[in-house]
């Protein structure tokens, strides 16, 4: 990673032509698709993008149209990191043999939470262990939205999905969200970070940092899905913001294992009174509607308790400099 941090203004970014183009077929108010646009705004030169099967892969590549202005490859669902491995290997050897003249070619792999935490975890772990030079971007909308809102291991406690429906006996998903960034940090990666598109400047900066790493980098981007969350499409960015303000999804980065809160989360750590209750984030989302009943009130309490606990642990990790 370069020591000189990339400086940019909003106007620089706004004026940079989109590399993920308009005319895609994402739902109105889709935050993951904003993530794609913003990630592409951070590219620094020749770049190849590869995607796992999923909403964000479908919406931009329906033949005979493409929304990708960059070279782009999709092969299957569980293997975005293996695609990146193959592309990285090809670039390395072809540069050595003089078949590629570019000084570098950045590789970005993009997958949803299903393609990262569940079916894609093996390929991701393997590619990171092998040290391929790529940035893996997880857009986390907390479920299998492309196939009609099924539970993933990233779906949070209490959320109702079509395979963890809120019933009369079981109140939605019972299990915790899989701590994917902790798993990636355990791989001793040079760069692991979290982001969410409301804080677009932070997101773009982190993408660029991830690209500058020589080796694998991992970026976990929290991205509200109005269709799957049964929320108002106009409020996708508001939920993105609320996820940080309630500490449901704090944003931070870890460079060589040293973890540091990013400004919006740091502000809350310095002024804890600014931390909003999780209710502010949960209400308005249809997937949590069943929790706002007397018999399920304890689940909201549990979400608040576990959110606070994770936040405290994160603060300790940041303070101690440990991963």
């Amino acid at each position: 990673m370069t020591t000189q941090e990339w400086k940019f203004t909003a106007k620089d970014i706004a004026a940079k032509p989109d590399l993920f183009l308009s005319g895609h077929r994402a739902c109105a108010g889709c935050a993951p698709v904003s993530v794609l646009r913003l990630v592409m705004k951070a590219t620094r030169g020749p770049t190849i993008v590869t995607q796992a099967t999923g909403c964000m892969e479908i919406v931009g590549s329906i033949y005979p149209y493409t929304s990708w202005a960059l070279p782009w490859l999709h092969t299957a669902f569980e293997n975005a990191a293996a695609n990146a491995s193959g592309i990285d290997a090809a670039i390395k050897i072809m540069r050595k043999k003089g078949k590629i003249k570019d000084e570098y070619v950045d590789v970005i792999a993009i997958a949803g939470d299903g393609g990262t935490l569940d079916i894609g975890l093996q390929a991701l772990s393997g590619a990171v262990e092998r040290g391929h030079d790529f940035l893996f971007v997880l857009y986390d909308n907390e479920g299998y939205m492309n196939t009609g809102i099924q539970r993933s291991s990233s779906t949070p406690i209490g959320a109702s999905t079509t395979t963890s429906p809120a019933g009369s006996v079981i109140p939605g998903k019972l299990e915790k969200k899989k701590p994917i960034t902790e798993i990636m940090l355990a791989h001793e990666m040079e760069y692991v970070a979290t982001a969410t598109p409301y804080y677009w400047k932070d997101l773009i900066t982190k993408v660029r940092k991830g690209l500058e790493v020589e080796g694998p980098a991992f970026l976990h981007v929290f991205a509200p899905c109005p269709r799957g969350w049964r929320s108002d499409p106009a409020k996708s960015m508001e939920y993105s913001k609320l996820s940080v303000e309630t500490c449901v999804f704090p944003i931070w980065e870890a460079v060589n294992g040293k973890r540091q809160l990013s400004t919006p989360s740091k502000v809350i750590s310095l002024a804890p009174q600014k931390k909003k209750p999780v209710k502010a984030y949960l209400e308005g989302q249809g997937r949590f509607r069943h929790l706002f009943t007397p018999q399920n009130a304890h689940i909201i309490e549990e979400i608040q308790r576990s959110t606070d606990e994770r936040w405290e642990k994160l603060l300790q990790k940041c303070a101690s400099g440990a991963t």
Binding site: S22, L38, P64, Y65, A234
Partner: protein, 96 residues
């Protein structure tokens, strides 16, 4: 299937798309459309950054913002996030 669609002999292999989605307008998906109050707009670019459609362009040479209704799906994120409340979502007939 219409006659405009090509035969297997006429198209490139492996499904390489021959068209950019810039040619696929999604503007007719919308119910509400964003209306800007130019006096309130400070060109802060929040809407440009957060529009999922890339339908709000910043024109640096004119220092202006332009909404492309050909792509706008009417989600209302721009109106919800605008710090000066310079954008409101309206039914097209309300506007007329």
């Amino acid at each position: 299937m219409s006659n405009k669609e090509k035969t297997w002999k006429e198209i490139s292999i492996a499904g390489v798309p021959p068209k950019s989605s810039i040619g696929f307008l999604t503007g007719d998906w919308k119910t509400y459309m964003p209306i800007r109050d130019l006096e309130k707009c400070t060109i802060c670019l929040t809407c440009v950054m957060l529009c999922p459609e890339g339908a709000i362009a910043f024109l640096p040479e004119k220092n202006k913002i332009q909404i492309d209704l050909g792509f706008c799906k009417g989600c209302g994120i721009c109106a919800n996030e605008c710090p000066t409340k310079a954008i409101t979502m309206k039914m097209p007939e309300e506007e007329e």
